[in-house]
């Protein structure tokens, strides 16, 4: 009897959280799924009166037929496949280095953590300024106000002060590869702090005695890293990779931060669009059905990738 009373109390304490979850998480999920299958669903149309929507896959077909769809898929997957491994490896090396040094560690840790607490739109604008070339570019006599700090550095190092010696990273006429390069640098840099934090925590919980044993076994540093640190850290690495992929598939703000709502350089708007970008586009067109369908497609992709990740990590992660 005491037990059931206790249980009742437990439910009572959980109630506020459950109510909030039901209103703000469970109900929207149900709603999203149902909207996705109601063809041409729109909040405005519905508000207009007694409208019924046909049930079907029309929204999905509409999304897939969107002119940006393939490009958005390509961008999203490409960014994921490049930035997740690169940022994970960099974070691992930085974490190992941070773990090895004594003084200055706290200070460096703080510096590496700063991107995490900074607004990503703000960082995006700073990146845009760094890679920007301000002025008129093209066949006319160049009147350039600023090359941006990145080009300044390149010009300084190359020692070539010719006005035409600059790389067009993000301005009108820039190439897709350069756009992606800037995006990759930004996303990797932005993804580092969280990964470093997790990996550093993992490193600090590894028993120091394994390293003493490795010393006794005369293991060179590189082997210590690959044969001991990485395997012992593998649960953390798996966690960082899986959350990295999930975050990567939801990439959006970083592109808005650098390229603005155009999702690309002025001459080719939408070139850097992503899946989440498509969802926003649909919402702006008041096409909630389409947005829901796009969200479900994204959810499906993330689900599949995460399942693959889990499957791989089962084989690779020790313990």
């Amino acid at each position: 009897m005491v037990e059931s009373k206790q249980q009742w109390k437990a439910w009572l304490y959980l109630a506020p959280a459950i109510v909030l979850l039901l209103i703000f998480t469970v109900w929207p999920i149900i709603n999203t799924v149902s909207m996705a299958f109601l063809e041409g669903y729109s909040g405005l149309t519905k508000a207009g009166g007694d409208v019924t929507f046909k049930i079907g896959l029309g929204n999905f077909i509409h999304v897939v037929g969107h002119p940006d769809f393939l490009q958005a898929m390509k961008n999203t997957i490409l960014l994921c496949l490049i930035t997740v491994p690169v940022s994970t490896i960099l974070a691992l090396l930085i974490a190992v280095a941070l773990n090895a040094i004594g003084p200055l560690r706290k200070a460096l840790q703080t510096i590496f953590f700063l991107p995490y607490v900074t607004n990503s739109i703000a960082i995006g604008m700073v990146f845009a300024a760094m890679f920007n070339v301000i002025g008129s570019i093209g066949t006319r006599r160049p009147v350039i106000v600023s090359y941006g700090i990145v080009n300044d550095i390149i010009r300084l190092i190359s020692g070539n002060s010719d006005p035409k010696n600059f790389i067009n990273f993000i301005n009108t006429g820039s190439s897709y590869e350069m756009n992606m390069l800037v995006m990759v640098i930004y996303i990797v840099w932005n993804a580092l702090p969280f990964k470093i934090l997790v990996l550093l925590g993992g490193l600090q919980s590894i028993n120091k005695q394994y390293y003493d044993a490795a010393k006794v076994d005369s293991a060179p540093r590189w082997r210590v890293l690959t044969r001991i640190t990485v395997p012992l850290l593998s649960p953390m690495i798996a966690y960082v990779v899986i959350t990295g992929f999930i975050g990567g598939f939801k990439e959006y703000t970083s592109i808005v931060g650098i390229f603005g709502e155009n999702m690309g350089p002025v001459h080719d708007a939408g070139r850097l669009n992503t899946m989440v970008g498509l969802i926003y586009d649909s919402l702006e067109l008041d096409n909630q059905g389409g947005a829901s369908a796009a969200a479900l497609i994204l959810f499906g992709i993330i689900l599949v990738v995460t399942l693959i990740n889990l499957q791989v990590s089962k084989k690779r992660v020790h313990y």
């Binding site: 044993a213 293991a219 060179p220 082997r223 395997p231 313990y319």
Partner: protein, 364 residues
Amino acid sequence: MKIVLKNLTKIFPSRNKKSNDEVIAVNNFDFEIPDGKLIGLLGPSGCGKSTTLYMISGLQKPTSGQIFFGEDDVTELSTEKRGIGLVFQNYALYPHMTVKQNILFPLQNLRGEDKMPKEKMLEQAYHAAKLVQIEELMDRKPSELSGGQQQRVAIARALVKMPRVLLLDEPLSNLDARLRLQTREEIRRIQKETGITTVFVTHDQEEAMSISDMIVVMKLGVVQQIGEPQNVYDSPANLFVAKFLGTPPINVFEGEVKEGKLLIGGAVVLDVNGVEDQPVTVGIRPEGFILDEQGPLHCRLSNVEVMGRDVSIVSTHEHSLNPIIRSIINADHKVNIGGEEVCYSLKSHKVFLFNRDTEERIYF
């Protein structure tokens, strides 16, 4: 490979810079470990025995003093280059590697001339595994092994590269009593088979006595006595060593020397010619008592424990410094004890006298 320790000292600085509570873990350790011998470093916890071992391994740097392997000064040499094998107290097997990978790991790190082809490595790994009898466990992970098996894997990993020196840090502390007995014999056997100079650390005197060629008894960083186990047991240098070695422990009495006689509680118990008159602490090994109705040492009998081979007699005496006196009497002839009192005479070579203040041995 002999190991020479010269004035080896390790001081751990105090944590708090203002206070001056630095710890002298090892104080001026001077010893030459002969080639191919098994040496037991023995002492209570905090006596500096593990620190000494880790200084030999190179994992800890001495504050002063030198370490030689043979003729080579290795004091400044890093652990990686010393070519030692070390078995850690909790084994430190790499949890993500199989037994085979664990044993192969030191071989894979060999460089230069020592580098060997894969088949040779495997052969050597299996040879080491055979030595410690774990060939059938090669594909298991450490978490799937018992403590004793893990310990053997740790020994195999330490031995596989044929180290110049094998170091063992309390290797038996995680094993149950029976396995401990069995494993210590095995360590002895492996050491004899390989002839590798071996140093092992323990706080268990029985363990050290049973397998070591020589034991080093330490207390608070200072070496108390070095010698063959039997010699140290038979002739302890001071009260600490006498108390530390032997089970059951030595019985300690307050006594007095007067005119060449040893008195305990006023009764003359032994002739000790050549000792100046002075108050002394008397140590008597449990096997140093002889049941004797006319014996001079009268104790109050509290208990008789029959253990088959021996009889252990528990008694008390007002001048005993221990709460009880335990004597061990051979059970060959029938022991007939009754009443309230038990009387002993003493075997003089089992009786040790110590200075009351310095606790140093007084020889007679």
